[in-house]
């Protein structure tokens, strides 16, 4: 019973932390601080220490995920990242920033 309670608590804590991170990223996107790029990684639109730290952290996680997928599918990291970037730009919410092919930040 105690073990089940502990597991439930751990799941709840994980969910809460995930929710917090998500809010941070969503908040940063909605504030126009960060945006998606064609290379599959987040970029900083308006630099602030918090935005840079957030982007660096998320990009490190993305790179790990891309690398795992690339290895499993015999693709290169950049191929996976570029494909993911294309999809991320397509999925970006209206009003958030995305990087155009010419390198300029534009509002979707």
């Amino acid at each position: 019973m105690k073990a089940a309670t502990r597991l439930l608590m751990a799941v709840l804590l994980l969910a809460c932390s995930a929710l917090t991170m998500a809010l941070d990223l969503d908040s940063a996107k909605s504030q126009g601080l960060v945006g998606e790029q064609p290379n599959g990684y987040l970029g900083v639109v308006k630099a602030s220490p918090d935005a840079v730290e957030l982007v660096a952290d998320i990009n490190a996680k993305r790179r790990s995920a891309y690398e795992a997928i690339a290895k499993k599918n015999g693709a290169t990291l950049d191929q996976v990242a570029a494909l993911a970037g294309q999809k991320a730009i397509e999925k970006s919410a209206p009003g958030t920033y995305v990087k155009a092919p010419d390198g300029q930040w534009i509002k979707k």
């Binding site: 995930a18 840079v52 993305r62």
Partner: protein
């Protein structure tokens, strides 16, 4: 006398008895009254085993002539007095008559510290019996004694002065004797002095000197000779080219003749003075400066009471120039005053004073007026002003102000001078301004203590290239020692976290591990470096620690990145001068190649070692030339693995970008791209946008491929030659456990490739057999089913089931989208069918990219990526 008779006596004479009793008191009051009228003032009168005065002084015409502390009368016959301190201040009363001392009762006087202007505090003992005065004075190892008989007026004196008591580094001694008469306001006498072994510590020269002086009928005469050059310290020597002769009266100098020459490392200074003629009491002379750091001539003119420096400009050490446009008069009288207008120039900085006042009173000099500073230094305009007074007591006046202005810097300094006085000179300067758009402010404290200047600077600013943050704080203790300036150990400059572009620079601290010596040629000392690293959007630089040794205008840093085990040695030094000023140095890097370095790269480093050496230079732009060597490299691009990479390259960084060229071949032991490529080697040249490969060679599929030169990207078709490709290895690519086709033999040919940035194309590729080939169609359920479906197919399969091929020709074309068109002609025989000749023409169309597993990404990947939780920031 009985008690009754005593009472009767008192009743009869009580008035006289009262008068008798009050007489001493009255006498004491009279004495006090007389002393008061003579200017005596006392404080703190008490009786402790004798009369004691805490303080006393004697006034004359409103000036304190004598001042004493803790006077004690310890005996009355003879009068015995001890005194802790006694001073004889100078009063501005002009020349005074030299009156002998007045009559006094016999006395003994002991003064622990007698202060006379121009002399150190002396311990003095005076005995007087029958109007014969005996005086002994002592200061450290120097002593003097004198006897004066007031009744006859005769006096004698002798003594010895040790040079080290005048200044610690002077050597030798001066013995003197004197005798004469002193009566009725007239002092006559003669003095002889002999200096022995005079010199300066650390300089070998020693010399003797003689001095004779006389005073008679208020006229004086002086003769002095110097046997050999006298060491003055700092490498300077003073030489008397002829004896000094001077004479005059109590009003001033009447004749003067001297020729002195001082020689030192900076040059030599010669002073000559002559008298114009007998009885005129004036003359002229010249002060001449010459040498590596000295130049100029100052015409001199002297009269009875003053020496005039006529207009001149002289060059002094440290590029200083001093000039004055109007004569400067220096009084030769005990008291005087002169206007002074002069200008001191250091490079492009001028300090001038106009109509200030130079005053002189006995040994005390004073200056009063205004100093104005103007000029340019290090490209900045300087302006300042100070009004006040300088004398032996220090500085008094308004706070000095200084402004520094330039294109990017504006700074105002305000320096109160109220603390500029001995013995502890103190100053606090507030500076306030801006550098570009950023504030610059702080405080500089200075004080003179323990024989040296010391203080601290505290300031803060922001570095201009930081978009946010980057606040700079400086806390520096400083001091001067033996003519040099130091920043103390622990001096610290800290740079707070801030943003440069989209890179977050973590805090950086520089701390002095040793005192930093400052000099015209730069800074000397050791600094500790601690940088907490940097965060970029695609990567992180971990903390960097290290040490930096600076030596003048050069420095050497040894930096360490513990998280990566990287070592970086960096040297830097100033190069060029003026507009061509730059920095150059060397760089050495040794680091293992670890996965953590890969965050910003498209590849993942697994292992390896990188060593690099380079020379770098910055002068308007960066330049770097050097070599890097990589060994044992293993990395992957995701699904493509590489291992055993070794090679060296020459790299150059210049304004147009970066170029690299391999030194000899670079090699890769293994490259896994779906099939294993071995022993890949080539030479490389690139500017990072175009890559030139030469002498490319690799072993693949049991054979090899070669290309004399390849360029990527390039629209040209460049031929790659394949040979000895083993068809068994080609079949094995299918990785099928039960293959239906068995091939054997080797093929080769030419494959013209177009290597574009994101695509690969093949045009007119030809492969042919290199020796006999064999083809076998192995029995299987699938093959049987195909044969049973059609008789013609069965015949074809039977024919091909075992084919000995003597001629194989394949023509290959591939579009950039991956579609390959192959036209194959096979000629052979079937040994199982009586060597039946077989000719097979076969065309095939296939998308190679889809065939290659390494390129099979698509919907599955998209789905997996998109299904990741937003919490991980994955798209």
């Amino acid at each position: 006398m009985s008690m009754r008779s005593r009472l009767a006596f008192v009743r009869r004479y009580y008035r006289w008895l009262i008068v008798l009793a009050l007489l001493p008191l009255g006498l004491l009051l009279v004495a006090a009254l007389i002393a008061y009228t003579q200017g005596m003032r006392v404080q703190g009168v008490s009786w402790q085993n004798g009369l004691e005065l805490a303080q006393w002084q004697r006034l004359h015409n409103g000036c304190v002539r004598v001042l004493g502390e803790r006077l004690r009368v310890t005996g009355w016959r003879p009068l015995t007095i001890t005194m802790t301190r006694m001073s004889l201040p100078k009063c501005e009363t002009g020349a005074e008559e030299l009156s002998p001392p007045p009559w006094t009762p016999p006395f003994d006087l002991s003064i622990k510290a007698l202060t006379i202007p121009g002399l150190p505090p002396l311990a003095v003992v005076i005995h007087q019996r029958e109007q014969r005065w005996q005086v002994q004075a002592r200061y450290r190892r120097s002593n003097a004694s004198a006897v004066y008989d007031r009744l006859s007026g005769r006096w004698t004196a002798q003594g010895q002065i040790q040079a080290t008591d005048i200044a610690p580094k002077l050597l030798g001694a001066l013995n003197f004797t004197g005798k004469g008469m002193w009566q009725a306001k007239r002092l006559d006498g003669s003095w002889q002095a002999q200096g022995y072994q005079l010199g300066y510590l650390g300089q070998p020269q020693r010399t003797d000197t003689t001095l004779e002086a006389s005073l008679a009928a208020k006229r004086w005469r002086l003769n002095a000779t110097l046997g050999a050059p006298l060491a003055l310290g700092g490498g300077w020597n003073l030489e008397a080219r002829e004896a000094l002769r001077a004479s005059g009266n109590l009003d001033g100098v009447e004749s003067l003749r001297l020729d002195l020459r001082a020689t030192g490392p900076q040059g030599n200074v010669r002073l000559t003075l002559e008298t114009e003629g007998g009885g005129v009491a004036r003359g002229q002379g010249r002060l001449t400066l010459a040498g590596p750091s000295l130049a100029g001539t100052v015409p001199l003119r002297w009269s009875r009471q003053r020496l005039e420096l006529l207009p001149a400009e002289i060059r002094l050490p440290e590029e200083l120039r001093l000039s004055w446009a109007r004569p400067v008069a220096l009084p030769l009288a005990p008291v005087g005053e002169s206007p002074l207008s002069a200008e001191l120039q250091y490079r492009n900085i001028r300090v001038k004073t106009v109509d200030s006042r130079l005053s002189w009173q006995q040994a005390r000099w004073g200056w009063q007026g205004q100093l104005e500073l103007a000029g340019k230094a290090a490209g900045y305009d300087l302006a300042g002003v100070w009004r006040g007074r300088i004398d032996a007591a220090g500085l008094t006046g308004e706070p000095a102000s200084l402004t520094v202005k330039g294109a990017d810097l504006q700074l105002a300094l305000r320096v109160p001078v109220t603390g500029f006085h001995p013995p502890r000179w103190t100053a606090r300067a507030d500076f306030n301004g801006r550098y570009g758009n950023y504030p610059l402010m702080g405080v500089l404290n200075a004080s003179f203590a323990r024989g040296r200047w010391e203080g601290a600077v505290e300031g803060h600013s922001r570095l201009p290239f930081y978009a946010q943050g980057g606040n700079l704080k400086v806390a520096v203790p400083w001091y001067g020692k033996e003519g040099q300036w130091f920043l103390g150990t622990g001096s610290r400059a800290t740079l707070a976290e801030g943003l440069i572009g989209t890179t977050l620079i973590k805090p950086i601290a520089l701390t002095a591990a040793t005192p930093l010596r400052l000099g015209p040629q730069g800074v000397w000392g050791t600094l500790q470096v601690k940088a907490d690293g940097a965060v970029a959007t695609r990567g992180v630089l971990p903390a960097v620690i290290g040490q930096m040794d600076v030596s003048g205008q050069q420095g050497r840093a040894r930096l360490h990145v513990p998280a990566w085990q990287s070592e970086l040695s960096l040297t830097a030094g100033l190069s060029g001068r003026g507009k061509n000023t730059g920095v150059k140095g060397t760089l050495e890097l040794t680091t293992p190649l670890v996965a953590a370095m890969s965050r910003s790269l498209g590849v993942s480093l697994q292992k390896g070692m990188l060593n690099g050496q380079a020379r770098w230079q910055w002068q308007d732009h960066w330049q770097l030339k050097g070599e890097v060597k990589v060994s044992g490299l293993a990395l992957d691009w995701g699904g493509i693995l590489a291992a055993g990479g070794n090679g060296s390259a020459h790299i150059e960084l210049h304004p147009d970008g970066l170029t690299l060229s391999s030194i000899g071949p670079i090699s890769l032991a293994e490259l896994e791209v779906g099939t294993l490529v071995r022993n890949l080697r080539m030479t490389v040249r690139s500017d990072l946008s175009t890559w030139h490969f030469a002498d490319v060679h690799a072993e693949v599929l049991g054979g090899n491929v070669r290309a004399p030169a390849l360029q990527w990207p390039s629209p040209q078709y460049q031929t790659v030659t394949a040979s000895r490709i083993n068809l068994e290895d080609v079949v094995a690519l299918e990785n099928e456990p039960n293959p239906t086709v068995q091939l054997a033999g080797r093929v080769g040919g030419h494959l013209p490739l177009q290597l574009m940035k994101d695509s690969l194309a093949l045009q007119g590729g030809v492969l042919s057999n290199e020796g006999p080939l064999s083809l076998k169609v192995l029995p299987s359920a699938g093959v049987s089913a195909m044969g049973q479906s059609n008789r013609a197919v069965q015949l074809a399969l039977d024919t091909l089931s075992n084919l000995a091929i003597h001629d194989f020709q394949a023509r290959l074309d591939m579009k950039p989208d991956g579609w390959l068109d192959a036209a194959v002609t096979v000629k052979g025989q079937n040994p199982q069918q009586n060597s039946l000749p077989v000719v097979l023409n076969y065309t095939h169309r296939e998308n190679v990219f889809e065939l290659l597993r390494s390129l099979r990404i698509g919907d599955e990947i998209s789905r997996r990526v998109l299904e990741r939780r937003p919490a991980e920031g994955l798209p």
